[in-house]
Symmetry: C3
Subunit: 441 residues, 3 copies
């Protein structure tokens, strides 16, 4: 049995890599339209590499550098943070291309789903969800559990988004509901199930001077490319709105976060706030990023999101242990609350037709006969989308957590410690000593 | 009074965030032209996201990762370097969008200024100026002083550039004069006013092995994306010129800097030179980046700039204390001198009509009736633009410095030390001990 | 004599900088077509900045950040890794623009070669070759030797690629043969000649905790932008193929590498594998990146490449010393074997006409009258291209190595140690002590 568990990780990867190969082999095809006459940037052909590629690589960097380095802040867990983020994201991208292909891009004429640059970008969106969930269990879940989590979370995320976007027609161009809210509450539910009391007392859940600077690399790349995330699949004026609104909103959350960090820390700053809450404006503006909310609207939303996020880190996170939740990266503060806030603003803005622009994008297949909706009905469906996402995230996370907790998957862990997972350079132990001067004697 | 000063930073941010919100609410609008027939890349519509966006994100990364990490070289001030760069740049972008909007993009028909991707990119240009000035006072000015500096510097920079570009019609596509020269001399003037003798003796103004490697991240992103900076708002053949000239010139300054560093250090290299002087070619080619200077022209300019910059670090900077200037990052060597050099080449190249291409871009509103200018006159106005910028930078910096020195803003500082501004991880103090072997005994 | 050798490095750079200036001055010109009617993205004008620029900057970042930081893993050689990568790449770019200009882009009507954004990108491809070779001798060759290596390697690489692409018409859009195989075997041949037995016993050829995290920055940027490398100069459907195939293949090699690392290390991971073998899929798919190999094809190739690369690091590299080869970065595992694998798949895929698409790209000037080739002949020429590259790489590397070994160029080295090349911050020595607890007593 011991042997089997040792080989569980490579076995799992190999098995699914073979499965994916067959699924792609039988059911996928490249999507390309010869683009010989592109004069209309309002609705460019989906196959146009040139239109989507530059934003796609930005989003790609957000996933691997952004999330990967943001999580390196733990002083003894930096290898695992950036390494597990790497494998988890790569695995998720493959799986998401397939699942989204079947559900969103199925071509009934030849029984295959199409793959183009937009497929790659939307797979990155799915992976954002999974990496957010990873943030809630960082340092506590082993690689087998992470891969299993991705395996289960991807189809739930994709189905949830499919219902939300195609049936409810609840719009969310920056994916604040379908990615951020979903990923955060899914992760928190998993963390709830996996909760162990002694985690709270781990001496390793701390940063070090260099690990905090590494984490800032992640923060700043996320900051810089967030407009690409929110505008990634938008076209026409919605693309301009998404770029400008996100730029203003995320700059505002930098202001809001520094301001509030300085207040609650009485004249100093806290790196945890600066690494995370500064980005809340990118999340909070997502649902309405493509709408005409005005630059002042973006500014108000971003500033509030940054401030609320800091308050969450300072006052809410430490209290979550009372309900058996340990949220390592504070994803509730960066993705949960700001994402929820974005969903709410989406409900409000939907009620103002010429602001949201939502009604012009409705199709026949929307529940309730989308094309005949009025603003109030659209607001209702936006609320339904938000509620659905919360529910699917929490229930999906609970079920997933219960599976991950099965003895076969959960091996005894040395929390927040690379040593159990990696061959470490010889100085690693030294630098830990150095962090505990007493241990030196 | 103590209390008030503790809250000065959040208060200041909150106040201006509210003010900005109102200004944007009343006076800004998105700028979008439906782009249904783009066949002419010579003069694309300004609203075309696709044309400007990819270079804009490059420039964005230069500001936040480039400048932010370049300044992390100080071993006890890395949190502040990357953190204050973050808040200062975000604040500046908001403020610059507004100020440039009023001055450059005012639409008299509906009493609003327009905002599009080009507005966002040019706001980044303004922020470059402010971050350069920050480099001169890094480790010596507190966050309140930095925010106040941005508040005052932004309108002065924008007015200076407006006079230079729209009245003098002194061209500077890569912003070597209006951003680099202005920012450097403004910063040096502020540093002059804030000079305190004991700064020179600080034991903390040193790098450590890791902080120097962090700083190189900044250097190399600045290097890689500099062609985007110089070509950011150019169109047609000027865009190609700017990309190629900057690529050649900045590669050449890498050669020049390594060469000269090895010479002055007698066979070794100095990280300060490699982190900074390697980039001098990007600055030095700015004013003439869009011109037909030939690849050999770009090579000569870049090589000389790299060499001169190293000489500046080695021989000039240490002597500046005699005139009461302490220039932490050596912005005079990276931005001041190479920017000045670029202004001079602009004067020379302007006198060769078919090289510079300046005369074809003149408008009626230029001083002296631009459209009828000959090459000599254009050279004169280029010189006027350079002189104006020097003057505005120095006087603006002096006045700003005097305000920043008011007792209410200048609190007693622990120079080059994160401890006064941040909650630090516990290892931070340890690693300082380790840098002072004597302190161990 | 001592004096002369001290000045060899700056002298060499100065001399060639002057030579390059004259060559560019006499023989180069910007290439620009007024682009007033771009409706056909199938075959855009080569001068179109907009079409190539975004991928070009990605490739640029791969060279300077990617290769530069990937090599920082050595705990006492990080300055040299990122610094020498910087100067070597800048030097190579200048030289490659010129050599490729003469050979590929010579305009006989005005006796000049043209330079546009594609020239800049292909110069980056050449530099990839040289940086791969640098990886084989990292820590063992001094800066003079590196510059000389680039000087000799660039023309050999360019001539080899010219024969392969223009005479054999052996296609390799992702440059797996002409860049990766060539660079790897060239570097290994140089390493063979420069071999010294005592290198194997160096106490400094190890990583430290932070240097491994720095190296991951390089890894992940290489990963994220690899699709741009393989699609960099492709157009039409080949561009879509190259992007999608590379995305899938390199994600698969992440899976393959983690899987195999976990197997050979019995339940743990090894940073060397994660930093390098994860990228093997980008190399292995290069030759056929633009072909219709199916997403499942890309997945199989990538997974195998990742696994084989780990096996190479684990079992092959340690045994290379028996044939007097010390391969510091293991370039044979990341570039040599996966590149060779890519060449082989190219031979196979060439035999399937409608898969490879190679036959439609043949010209009259191909050896054997390219336009009349059948699939079998094309396979033969692909094999000839691979064989040629191996031969040119090995012979070129041997000759270059013999020259580098001349006493005038090879000074006594302190292997893998920054101290001999850099002025180091005072903590550098401290942190070495700390890595050798015994040295403390």
């Amino acid at each position: 049995m011991m042997n089997f568990r040792t080989f569980l990780f490579p076995l799992l990867l190999l098995l699914f890599q073979i499965l994916f190969t067959f699924l792609l082999g039988f059911h996928s095809e490249y999507r390309y339209f010869p683009v010989t006459n592109v004069t209309n940037y309002e609705s460019p052909p989906r196959g146009l590499v040139e239109f989507y590629y530059s934003m796609f690589t930005d989003i790609h960097v957000m996933m691997f550098i952004g999330f990967g380095y943001l999580m390196t802040f733990l002083r003894r867990y930096s290898f695992s943070s950036v390494g597990f983020n790497f494998i988890l994201c790569a695995f998720t991208l493959e799986w998401a291309v397939i699942v989204r292909g079947y559900l969103f891009d199925w071509n009934t004429t030849n029984q295959k789903f199409i793959v183009d640059v937009q497929s790659l970008a939307t797979a990155d969106f799915v992976s954002a969800s999974i990496l957010i969930s990873m943030g809630a269990v960082l340092g506590k879940a082993n690689p087998v559990q992470l891969i299993l989590m991705a395996l289960l979370e991807v189809p739930i995320q994709v189905v949830n988004e499919y219902i939300g976007v195609h049936l409810f027609c609840a719009f969310d161009p920056g994916e604040s509901m379908y990615v951020h809210v979903f990923g955060a509450y899914f992760g928190l539910a998993v963390a709830f199930v996996l909760y162990r009391r002694n985690v709270e007392d781990s001496p390793h859940e701390k940063s070090r001077y260099t690990s905090d600077i590494f984490a800032m690399i992640g923060t700043i790349f996320l900051f810089c490319f967030w407009p690409s995330f929110n505008a990634g699949v938008a076209t026409g004026i919605a693309r301009l709105h998404a770029v400008v609104n996100t730029y203003i909103s995320i700059c505002s959350s930098v202001i809001g976060a520094f301001l509030m960090s300085n207040l609650v820390k009485r004249g100093r700053f806290d790196m945890v706030h600066i690494q995370n809450s500064t980005l809340a404006g990118g999340v909070a503006v997502g649902t309405i990023a493509g709408s005409n909310i005005g630059l002042h609207g973006a500014m108000v939303i971003g500033t509030l999101a940054g401030m609320i996020s800091v308050l969450g880190y300072e006052f809410l996170t430490p209290r979550l242990k009372h309900i058996r939740i340990h949220d390592t990266c504070g994803v509730h503060n960066l993705h949960g609350m700001p994402g929820f806030m974005s969903g709410i603003t989406g409900i409000i803005v939907a009620s103002i037709g010429d602001r949201s622009g939502y009604l012009t994008d409705l199709t026949d297949s929307c529940l309730g006969g989308g094309v005949f909706r009025d603003n109030g009905t659209q607001s209702g469906y936006q609320a339904a989308g938000l509620g659905l996402t919360l529910g699917m995230g929490l229930v999906g996370g609970l079920v997933t957590g219960i599976i991950l907790r099965l003895p076969i998957f959960s091996q005894k862990e040395n929390d927040f410690d690379d040593e159990i997972h990696w061959h470490l350079p010889e100085d690693s132990h030294e630098s830990i000593l150095q962090n505990h001067p007493s241990a030196r004697l």
